[in-house]
């Protein structure tokens, strides 16, 4: 990049120091969040031992004795103090990336969630990419229009993005589909591929299903980003440095891209992590309506059964993606904005 060519060499040290600080902050955040999550589950009334016995004997008329509960607890290691269990769990996660056994389905959390993570991240990242690819250039373009029409359309879209949220769009899609197209819009992968290893055919099948949730998930983010981008671009276009660049003779798209667009994109970049959080936020509801067998439902089941390992695994994975996105945003900001790089 041009801007790095000359000034970065002199300021490399400051830049690396900035990176190291942010990395440390991210790691600490992740640690604190994992503790909060694990603790939150601990606060739940009842634990997995009770729930399992309750399920096992429900309807059989057998009375569950305290001794039995204690035995299951001991088997699962739930009788040890909270901090010990948290420490062990954390140790395994950090050293071996092992989230421990899933109580609920008698397999490891890793095995249970492996494919589901993949689907989730593809969906979330895909939806975000769609929203950036559509909203950023569109927002810039709309901001340069002089007529009020484009403005009105964007404003309308942003209102619809809020008033017709993803779940409503999903419902409307279901309805449209029921009346008009008669396609299978639910699910993420066909039955025959569900447990098959990844092949090209499976990937194509996945993509064939994924476009609907991608559109649904991308919709309101795009509407929102478009409005934001247009507003930012409009603000930047009125700033003095743009007038100054024009007064130098810079003009047209090269000027717009070099000055106001570069400035306007930065707030968008700095909120990448926030956008990730929002996508993760919307995914469970959309997933439930479109019957996508991914993390959302698994998380709910895990919580309902007080399956500490699975629930913590899912939440920690989600938040670590968000924290990683925040870190990425920090790096990008430092690269894009010398003020961040030079002042820390």
């Amino acid at each position: 990049m041009v801007l790095l060519s000359t000034s970065a060499t002199a300021n490399n040290a400051a830049f690396w120091q900035f990176l190291a600080t942010r990395l440390l902050v991210s790691a600490l955040t992740l640690l604190a969040v994992s503790f909060m999550i694990y603790g939150l589950i601990e606060l739940m009334p009842g634990d997995y031992a009770e729930r399992e016995l309750f399920r096992k004997y429900s309807g059989t008329g057998v009375t569950i004795t305290q001794a039995e509960i204690d035995r299951v607890r001991a088997d699962l290691g739930l009788d040890r103090p909270f901090l010990v269990r948290y420490g062990e769990w954390l140790w395994n996660v950090v050293t071996r990336f092992d989230f421990g056994p899933a109580f609920r389905v008698e397999t490891s959390v890793n095995a249970l969630l492996k494919d589901k993570f993949l689907y989730t991240f593809v969906l979330v990242i895909g939806a975000m990419l769609i929203s950036y690819i559509v909203a950023i250039p569109m927002g810039i373009w709309v901001a340069t229009r002089k007529s009020g029409l484009a403005d009105s359309v964007v404003t309308l879209l942003s209102y619809l993005g809020l008033a017709l949220p993803n779940f409503a769009i999903a419902l409307v899609l279901l309805m449209l589909n029921a009346f008009v197209f008669n396609l299978d819009v639910t699910g993420l992968i066909s039955q025959e591929y569900r447990d098959a290893p990844w092949t090209l055919a499976k990937l194509l099948d996945f993509l064939g299903h994924a476009y609907i949730p991608l559109l649904v998930l991308g919709w309101s983010t795009t509407a929102f980003q478009l409005q934001t981008m247009r507003g930012l671009m409009k603000d930047e276009m009125g700033k003095l440095y743009v007038t100054a660049a024009q007064a130098r003779g810079a003009s047209g798209w090269p000027m717009l891209i070099k000055y106001p667009a570069r400035h306007a994109v930065m707030p968008i970049v700095s909120t990448i992590g926030f956008d990730f959080a929002r996508s993760f936020n919307e995914l469970p509801v959309v997933a439930s309506i479109l019957v996508l067998g991914e993390l959302g439902q698994e998380l709910l089941l895990a919580f309902l059964d007080a399956d500490q390992n699975t629930a913590a695994g899912i939440l920690v994975c989600i938040t670590s993606v968000i924290i990683a996105a925040n870190f990425l945003a920090d790096i990008l900001m430092a690269v894009l904005d010398p003020r961040v790089r030079l002042k820390g």
């Binding site: 969040v33 739940m44 209102y159 809020l162 779940f167 309805m175 029921a178 469970p284 509801v285």
Partner: protein
């Protein structure tokens, strides 16, 4: 003429044509705010529509002809479509509007409900609509005992929005759902407001390490996406809780999960104003901390906060609805938009009973008018909105 004599200086007279301008300059903040707000037609429309929603929420018992609860099943009209208000039919016209008596029954062969108009002597049976019809009694606003409903029919029931799959009047249910959804959002917003005021206020006013600590904590909460976190918290609600308990727990959770953003804004506002001269002057003259916050800092912030709260409202409605739809929020027999929409998440329901979508329309209109109102208020509160065009 080359010398200017000071004694000659007269105060320029204000001409009558300057009246408007003068009014503009001497108007109070609220008058200015109101003038700017009224100029925004969309926002005014939003406000009017919203007042309608609030009226529905307050007087749901009166507006709804039935209680919408299990005791008002219309067994002859299960999953029936909306009934048309008519003045005329084959047998001629009448001045007073009426609906036809209809039945709905499940047909196994057609895999759906079949609707028939009941006929007597070759003529469809009419049910006349009546205003202020006496039916089940209730307490209006919890105070006034009454048995009058806005409308009703002289025999059987009337279903302007059709009925749900157990024969309950959808119109009545939507009215009560409006109350639930708006009130839960309102309480949620208020709770997060109080929390954010406490955290943001303390952080912004005290500053220093307290600020740093609170900031670190809010940042931590902000990192966890609210709905998954919410799922975790909802799952903790014991199964045997009553609906009232779930309702309040949900309000609590909605409030708990959503405060950090507003707290952050309050903080940065206070940090900025804290250094302003009039606050410094108040400090120097020995005003107490609480007095400075309430008398000097908050009034300037009031309009900002109101706008922020109105803007937050639709998001809380959205949260409740989305969570209830997927079965994580309120459950039957509580009535909320989300609970009513639960019924339409199956493809079959969508094909057979499209009127189950009606609550979605209410939801969309409510969110839209809140957003328009919020934007209008924000623009009116921002004195530079006009200059920025």
């Amino acid at each position: 003429m080359t010398e200017t004599s000071v004694t000659e200086v007269t105060v320029p007279q204000t001409k009558p044509s300057n009246r408007r301008q003068e009014d503009y300059y001497t108007a109070s903040q609220w008058q200015l705010f109101w003038t700017r707000f009224q100029r925004n037609r969309l926002a005014t429309v939003g406000g009017v529509v919203l007042s309608g929603f609030i009226l529905i929420a307050l007087f749901a018992e009166f507006i709804a002809p039935y209680s919408g609860q299990a005791d008002t099943h219309d067994t002859a009209y299960t999953a029936g479509p909306p009934q048309v208000i008519r003045f005329c039919d084959r047998a001629g016209c009448q001045i007073w509007p009426f609906v036809h008596e209809m039945t709905s029954s499940y047909s196994v062969s057609k895999k759906g409900y079949e609707v028939e108009t009941v006929e007597e002597k070759g003529q469809p049976v009419r049910r006349s609509l009546q205003l202020f019809y006496p039916a089940s009694s209730y307490r209006l606003l919890g105070l006034i005992e009454s048995d009058r409903h806005l409308f009703g029919v002289n025999r059987g029931q009337v279903h302007l929005f059709g009925t749900d799959s157990s024969g309950l009047d959808l119109f009545s249910r939507v009215m009560f759902a409006t109350r639930t959804s708006l009130s839960i959002a309102f309480l949620g917003v208020m709770l997060s407001f109080v929390l954010s005021l406490i955290f943001g206020g303390v952080a912004g006013y005290i500053g220093g390490w307290v600020d740093t600590a609170i900031q670190a904590f809010t940042d931590l909460v902000r990192v966890i996406p609210p709905i998954p976190l919410y799922m975790a918290l909802t799952a903790m609600f014991p199964r045997d809780w009553t609906n009232t308990q779930v309702y309040f727990a949900m309000t609590l959770v909605l409030g708990l999960v959503n405060w950090p953003t507003l707290a952050r804004r309050i903080r940065s506002y206070l940090l900025a104003t804290r250094e302003e001269e009039y606050v410094q002057a108040a400090k120097l003259s020995g005003a107490s901390g609480w007095r400075i916050v309430t008398r000097h800092l908050l009034p300037g912030f009031a309009s900002y906060i109101i706008v922020e709260l109105v803007i937050n409202f639709p998001y809380r409605i959205l949260d409740e609805t989305a969570l209830s739809i997927v079965g994580l929020g309120l459950r039957r027999p509580t009535m909320s938009w989300g609970v009513l929409l639960q019924e339409m998440t199956t493809v079959q329901a969508i094909q057979l009973t499209p009127w189950f979508f009606i609550p979605l329309i209410f939801f969309v209109v409510a969110v839209l008018s809140f957003t328009l109102l919020g934007d209008g208020l924000r623009d009116a509160a921002d004195p530079y909105a006009g200059l920025r065009r």
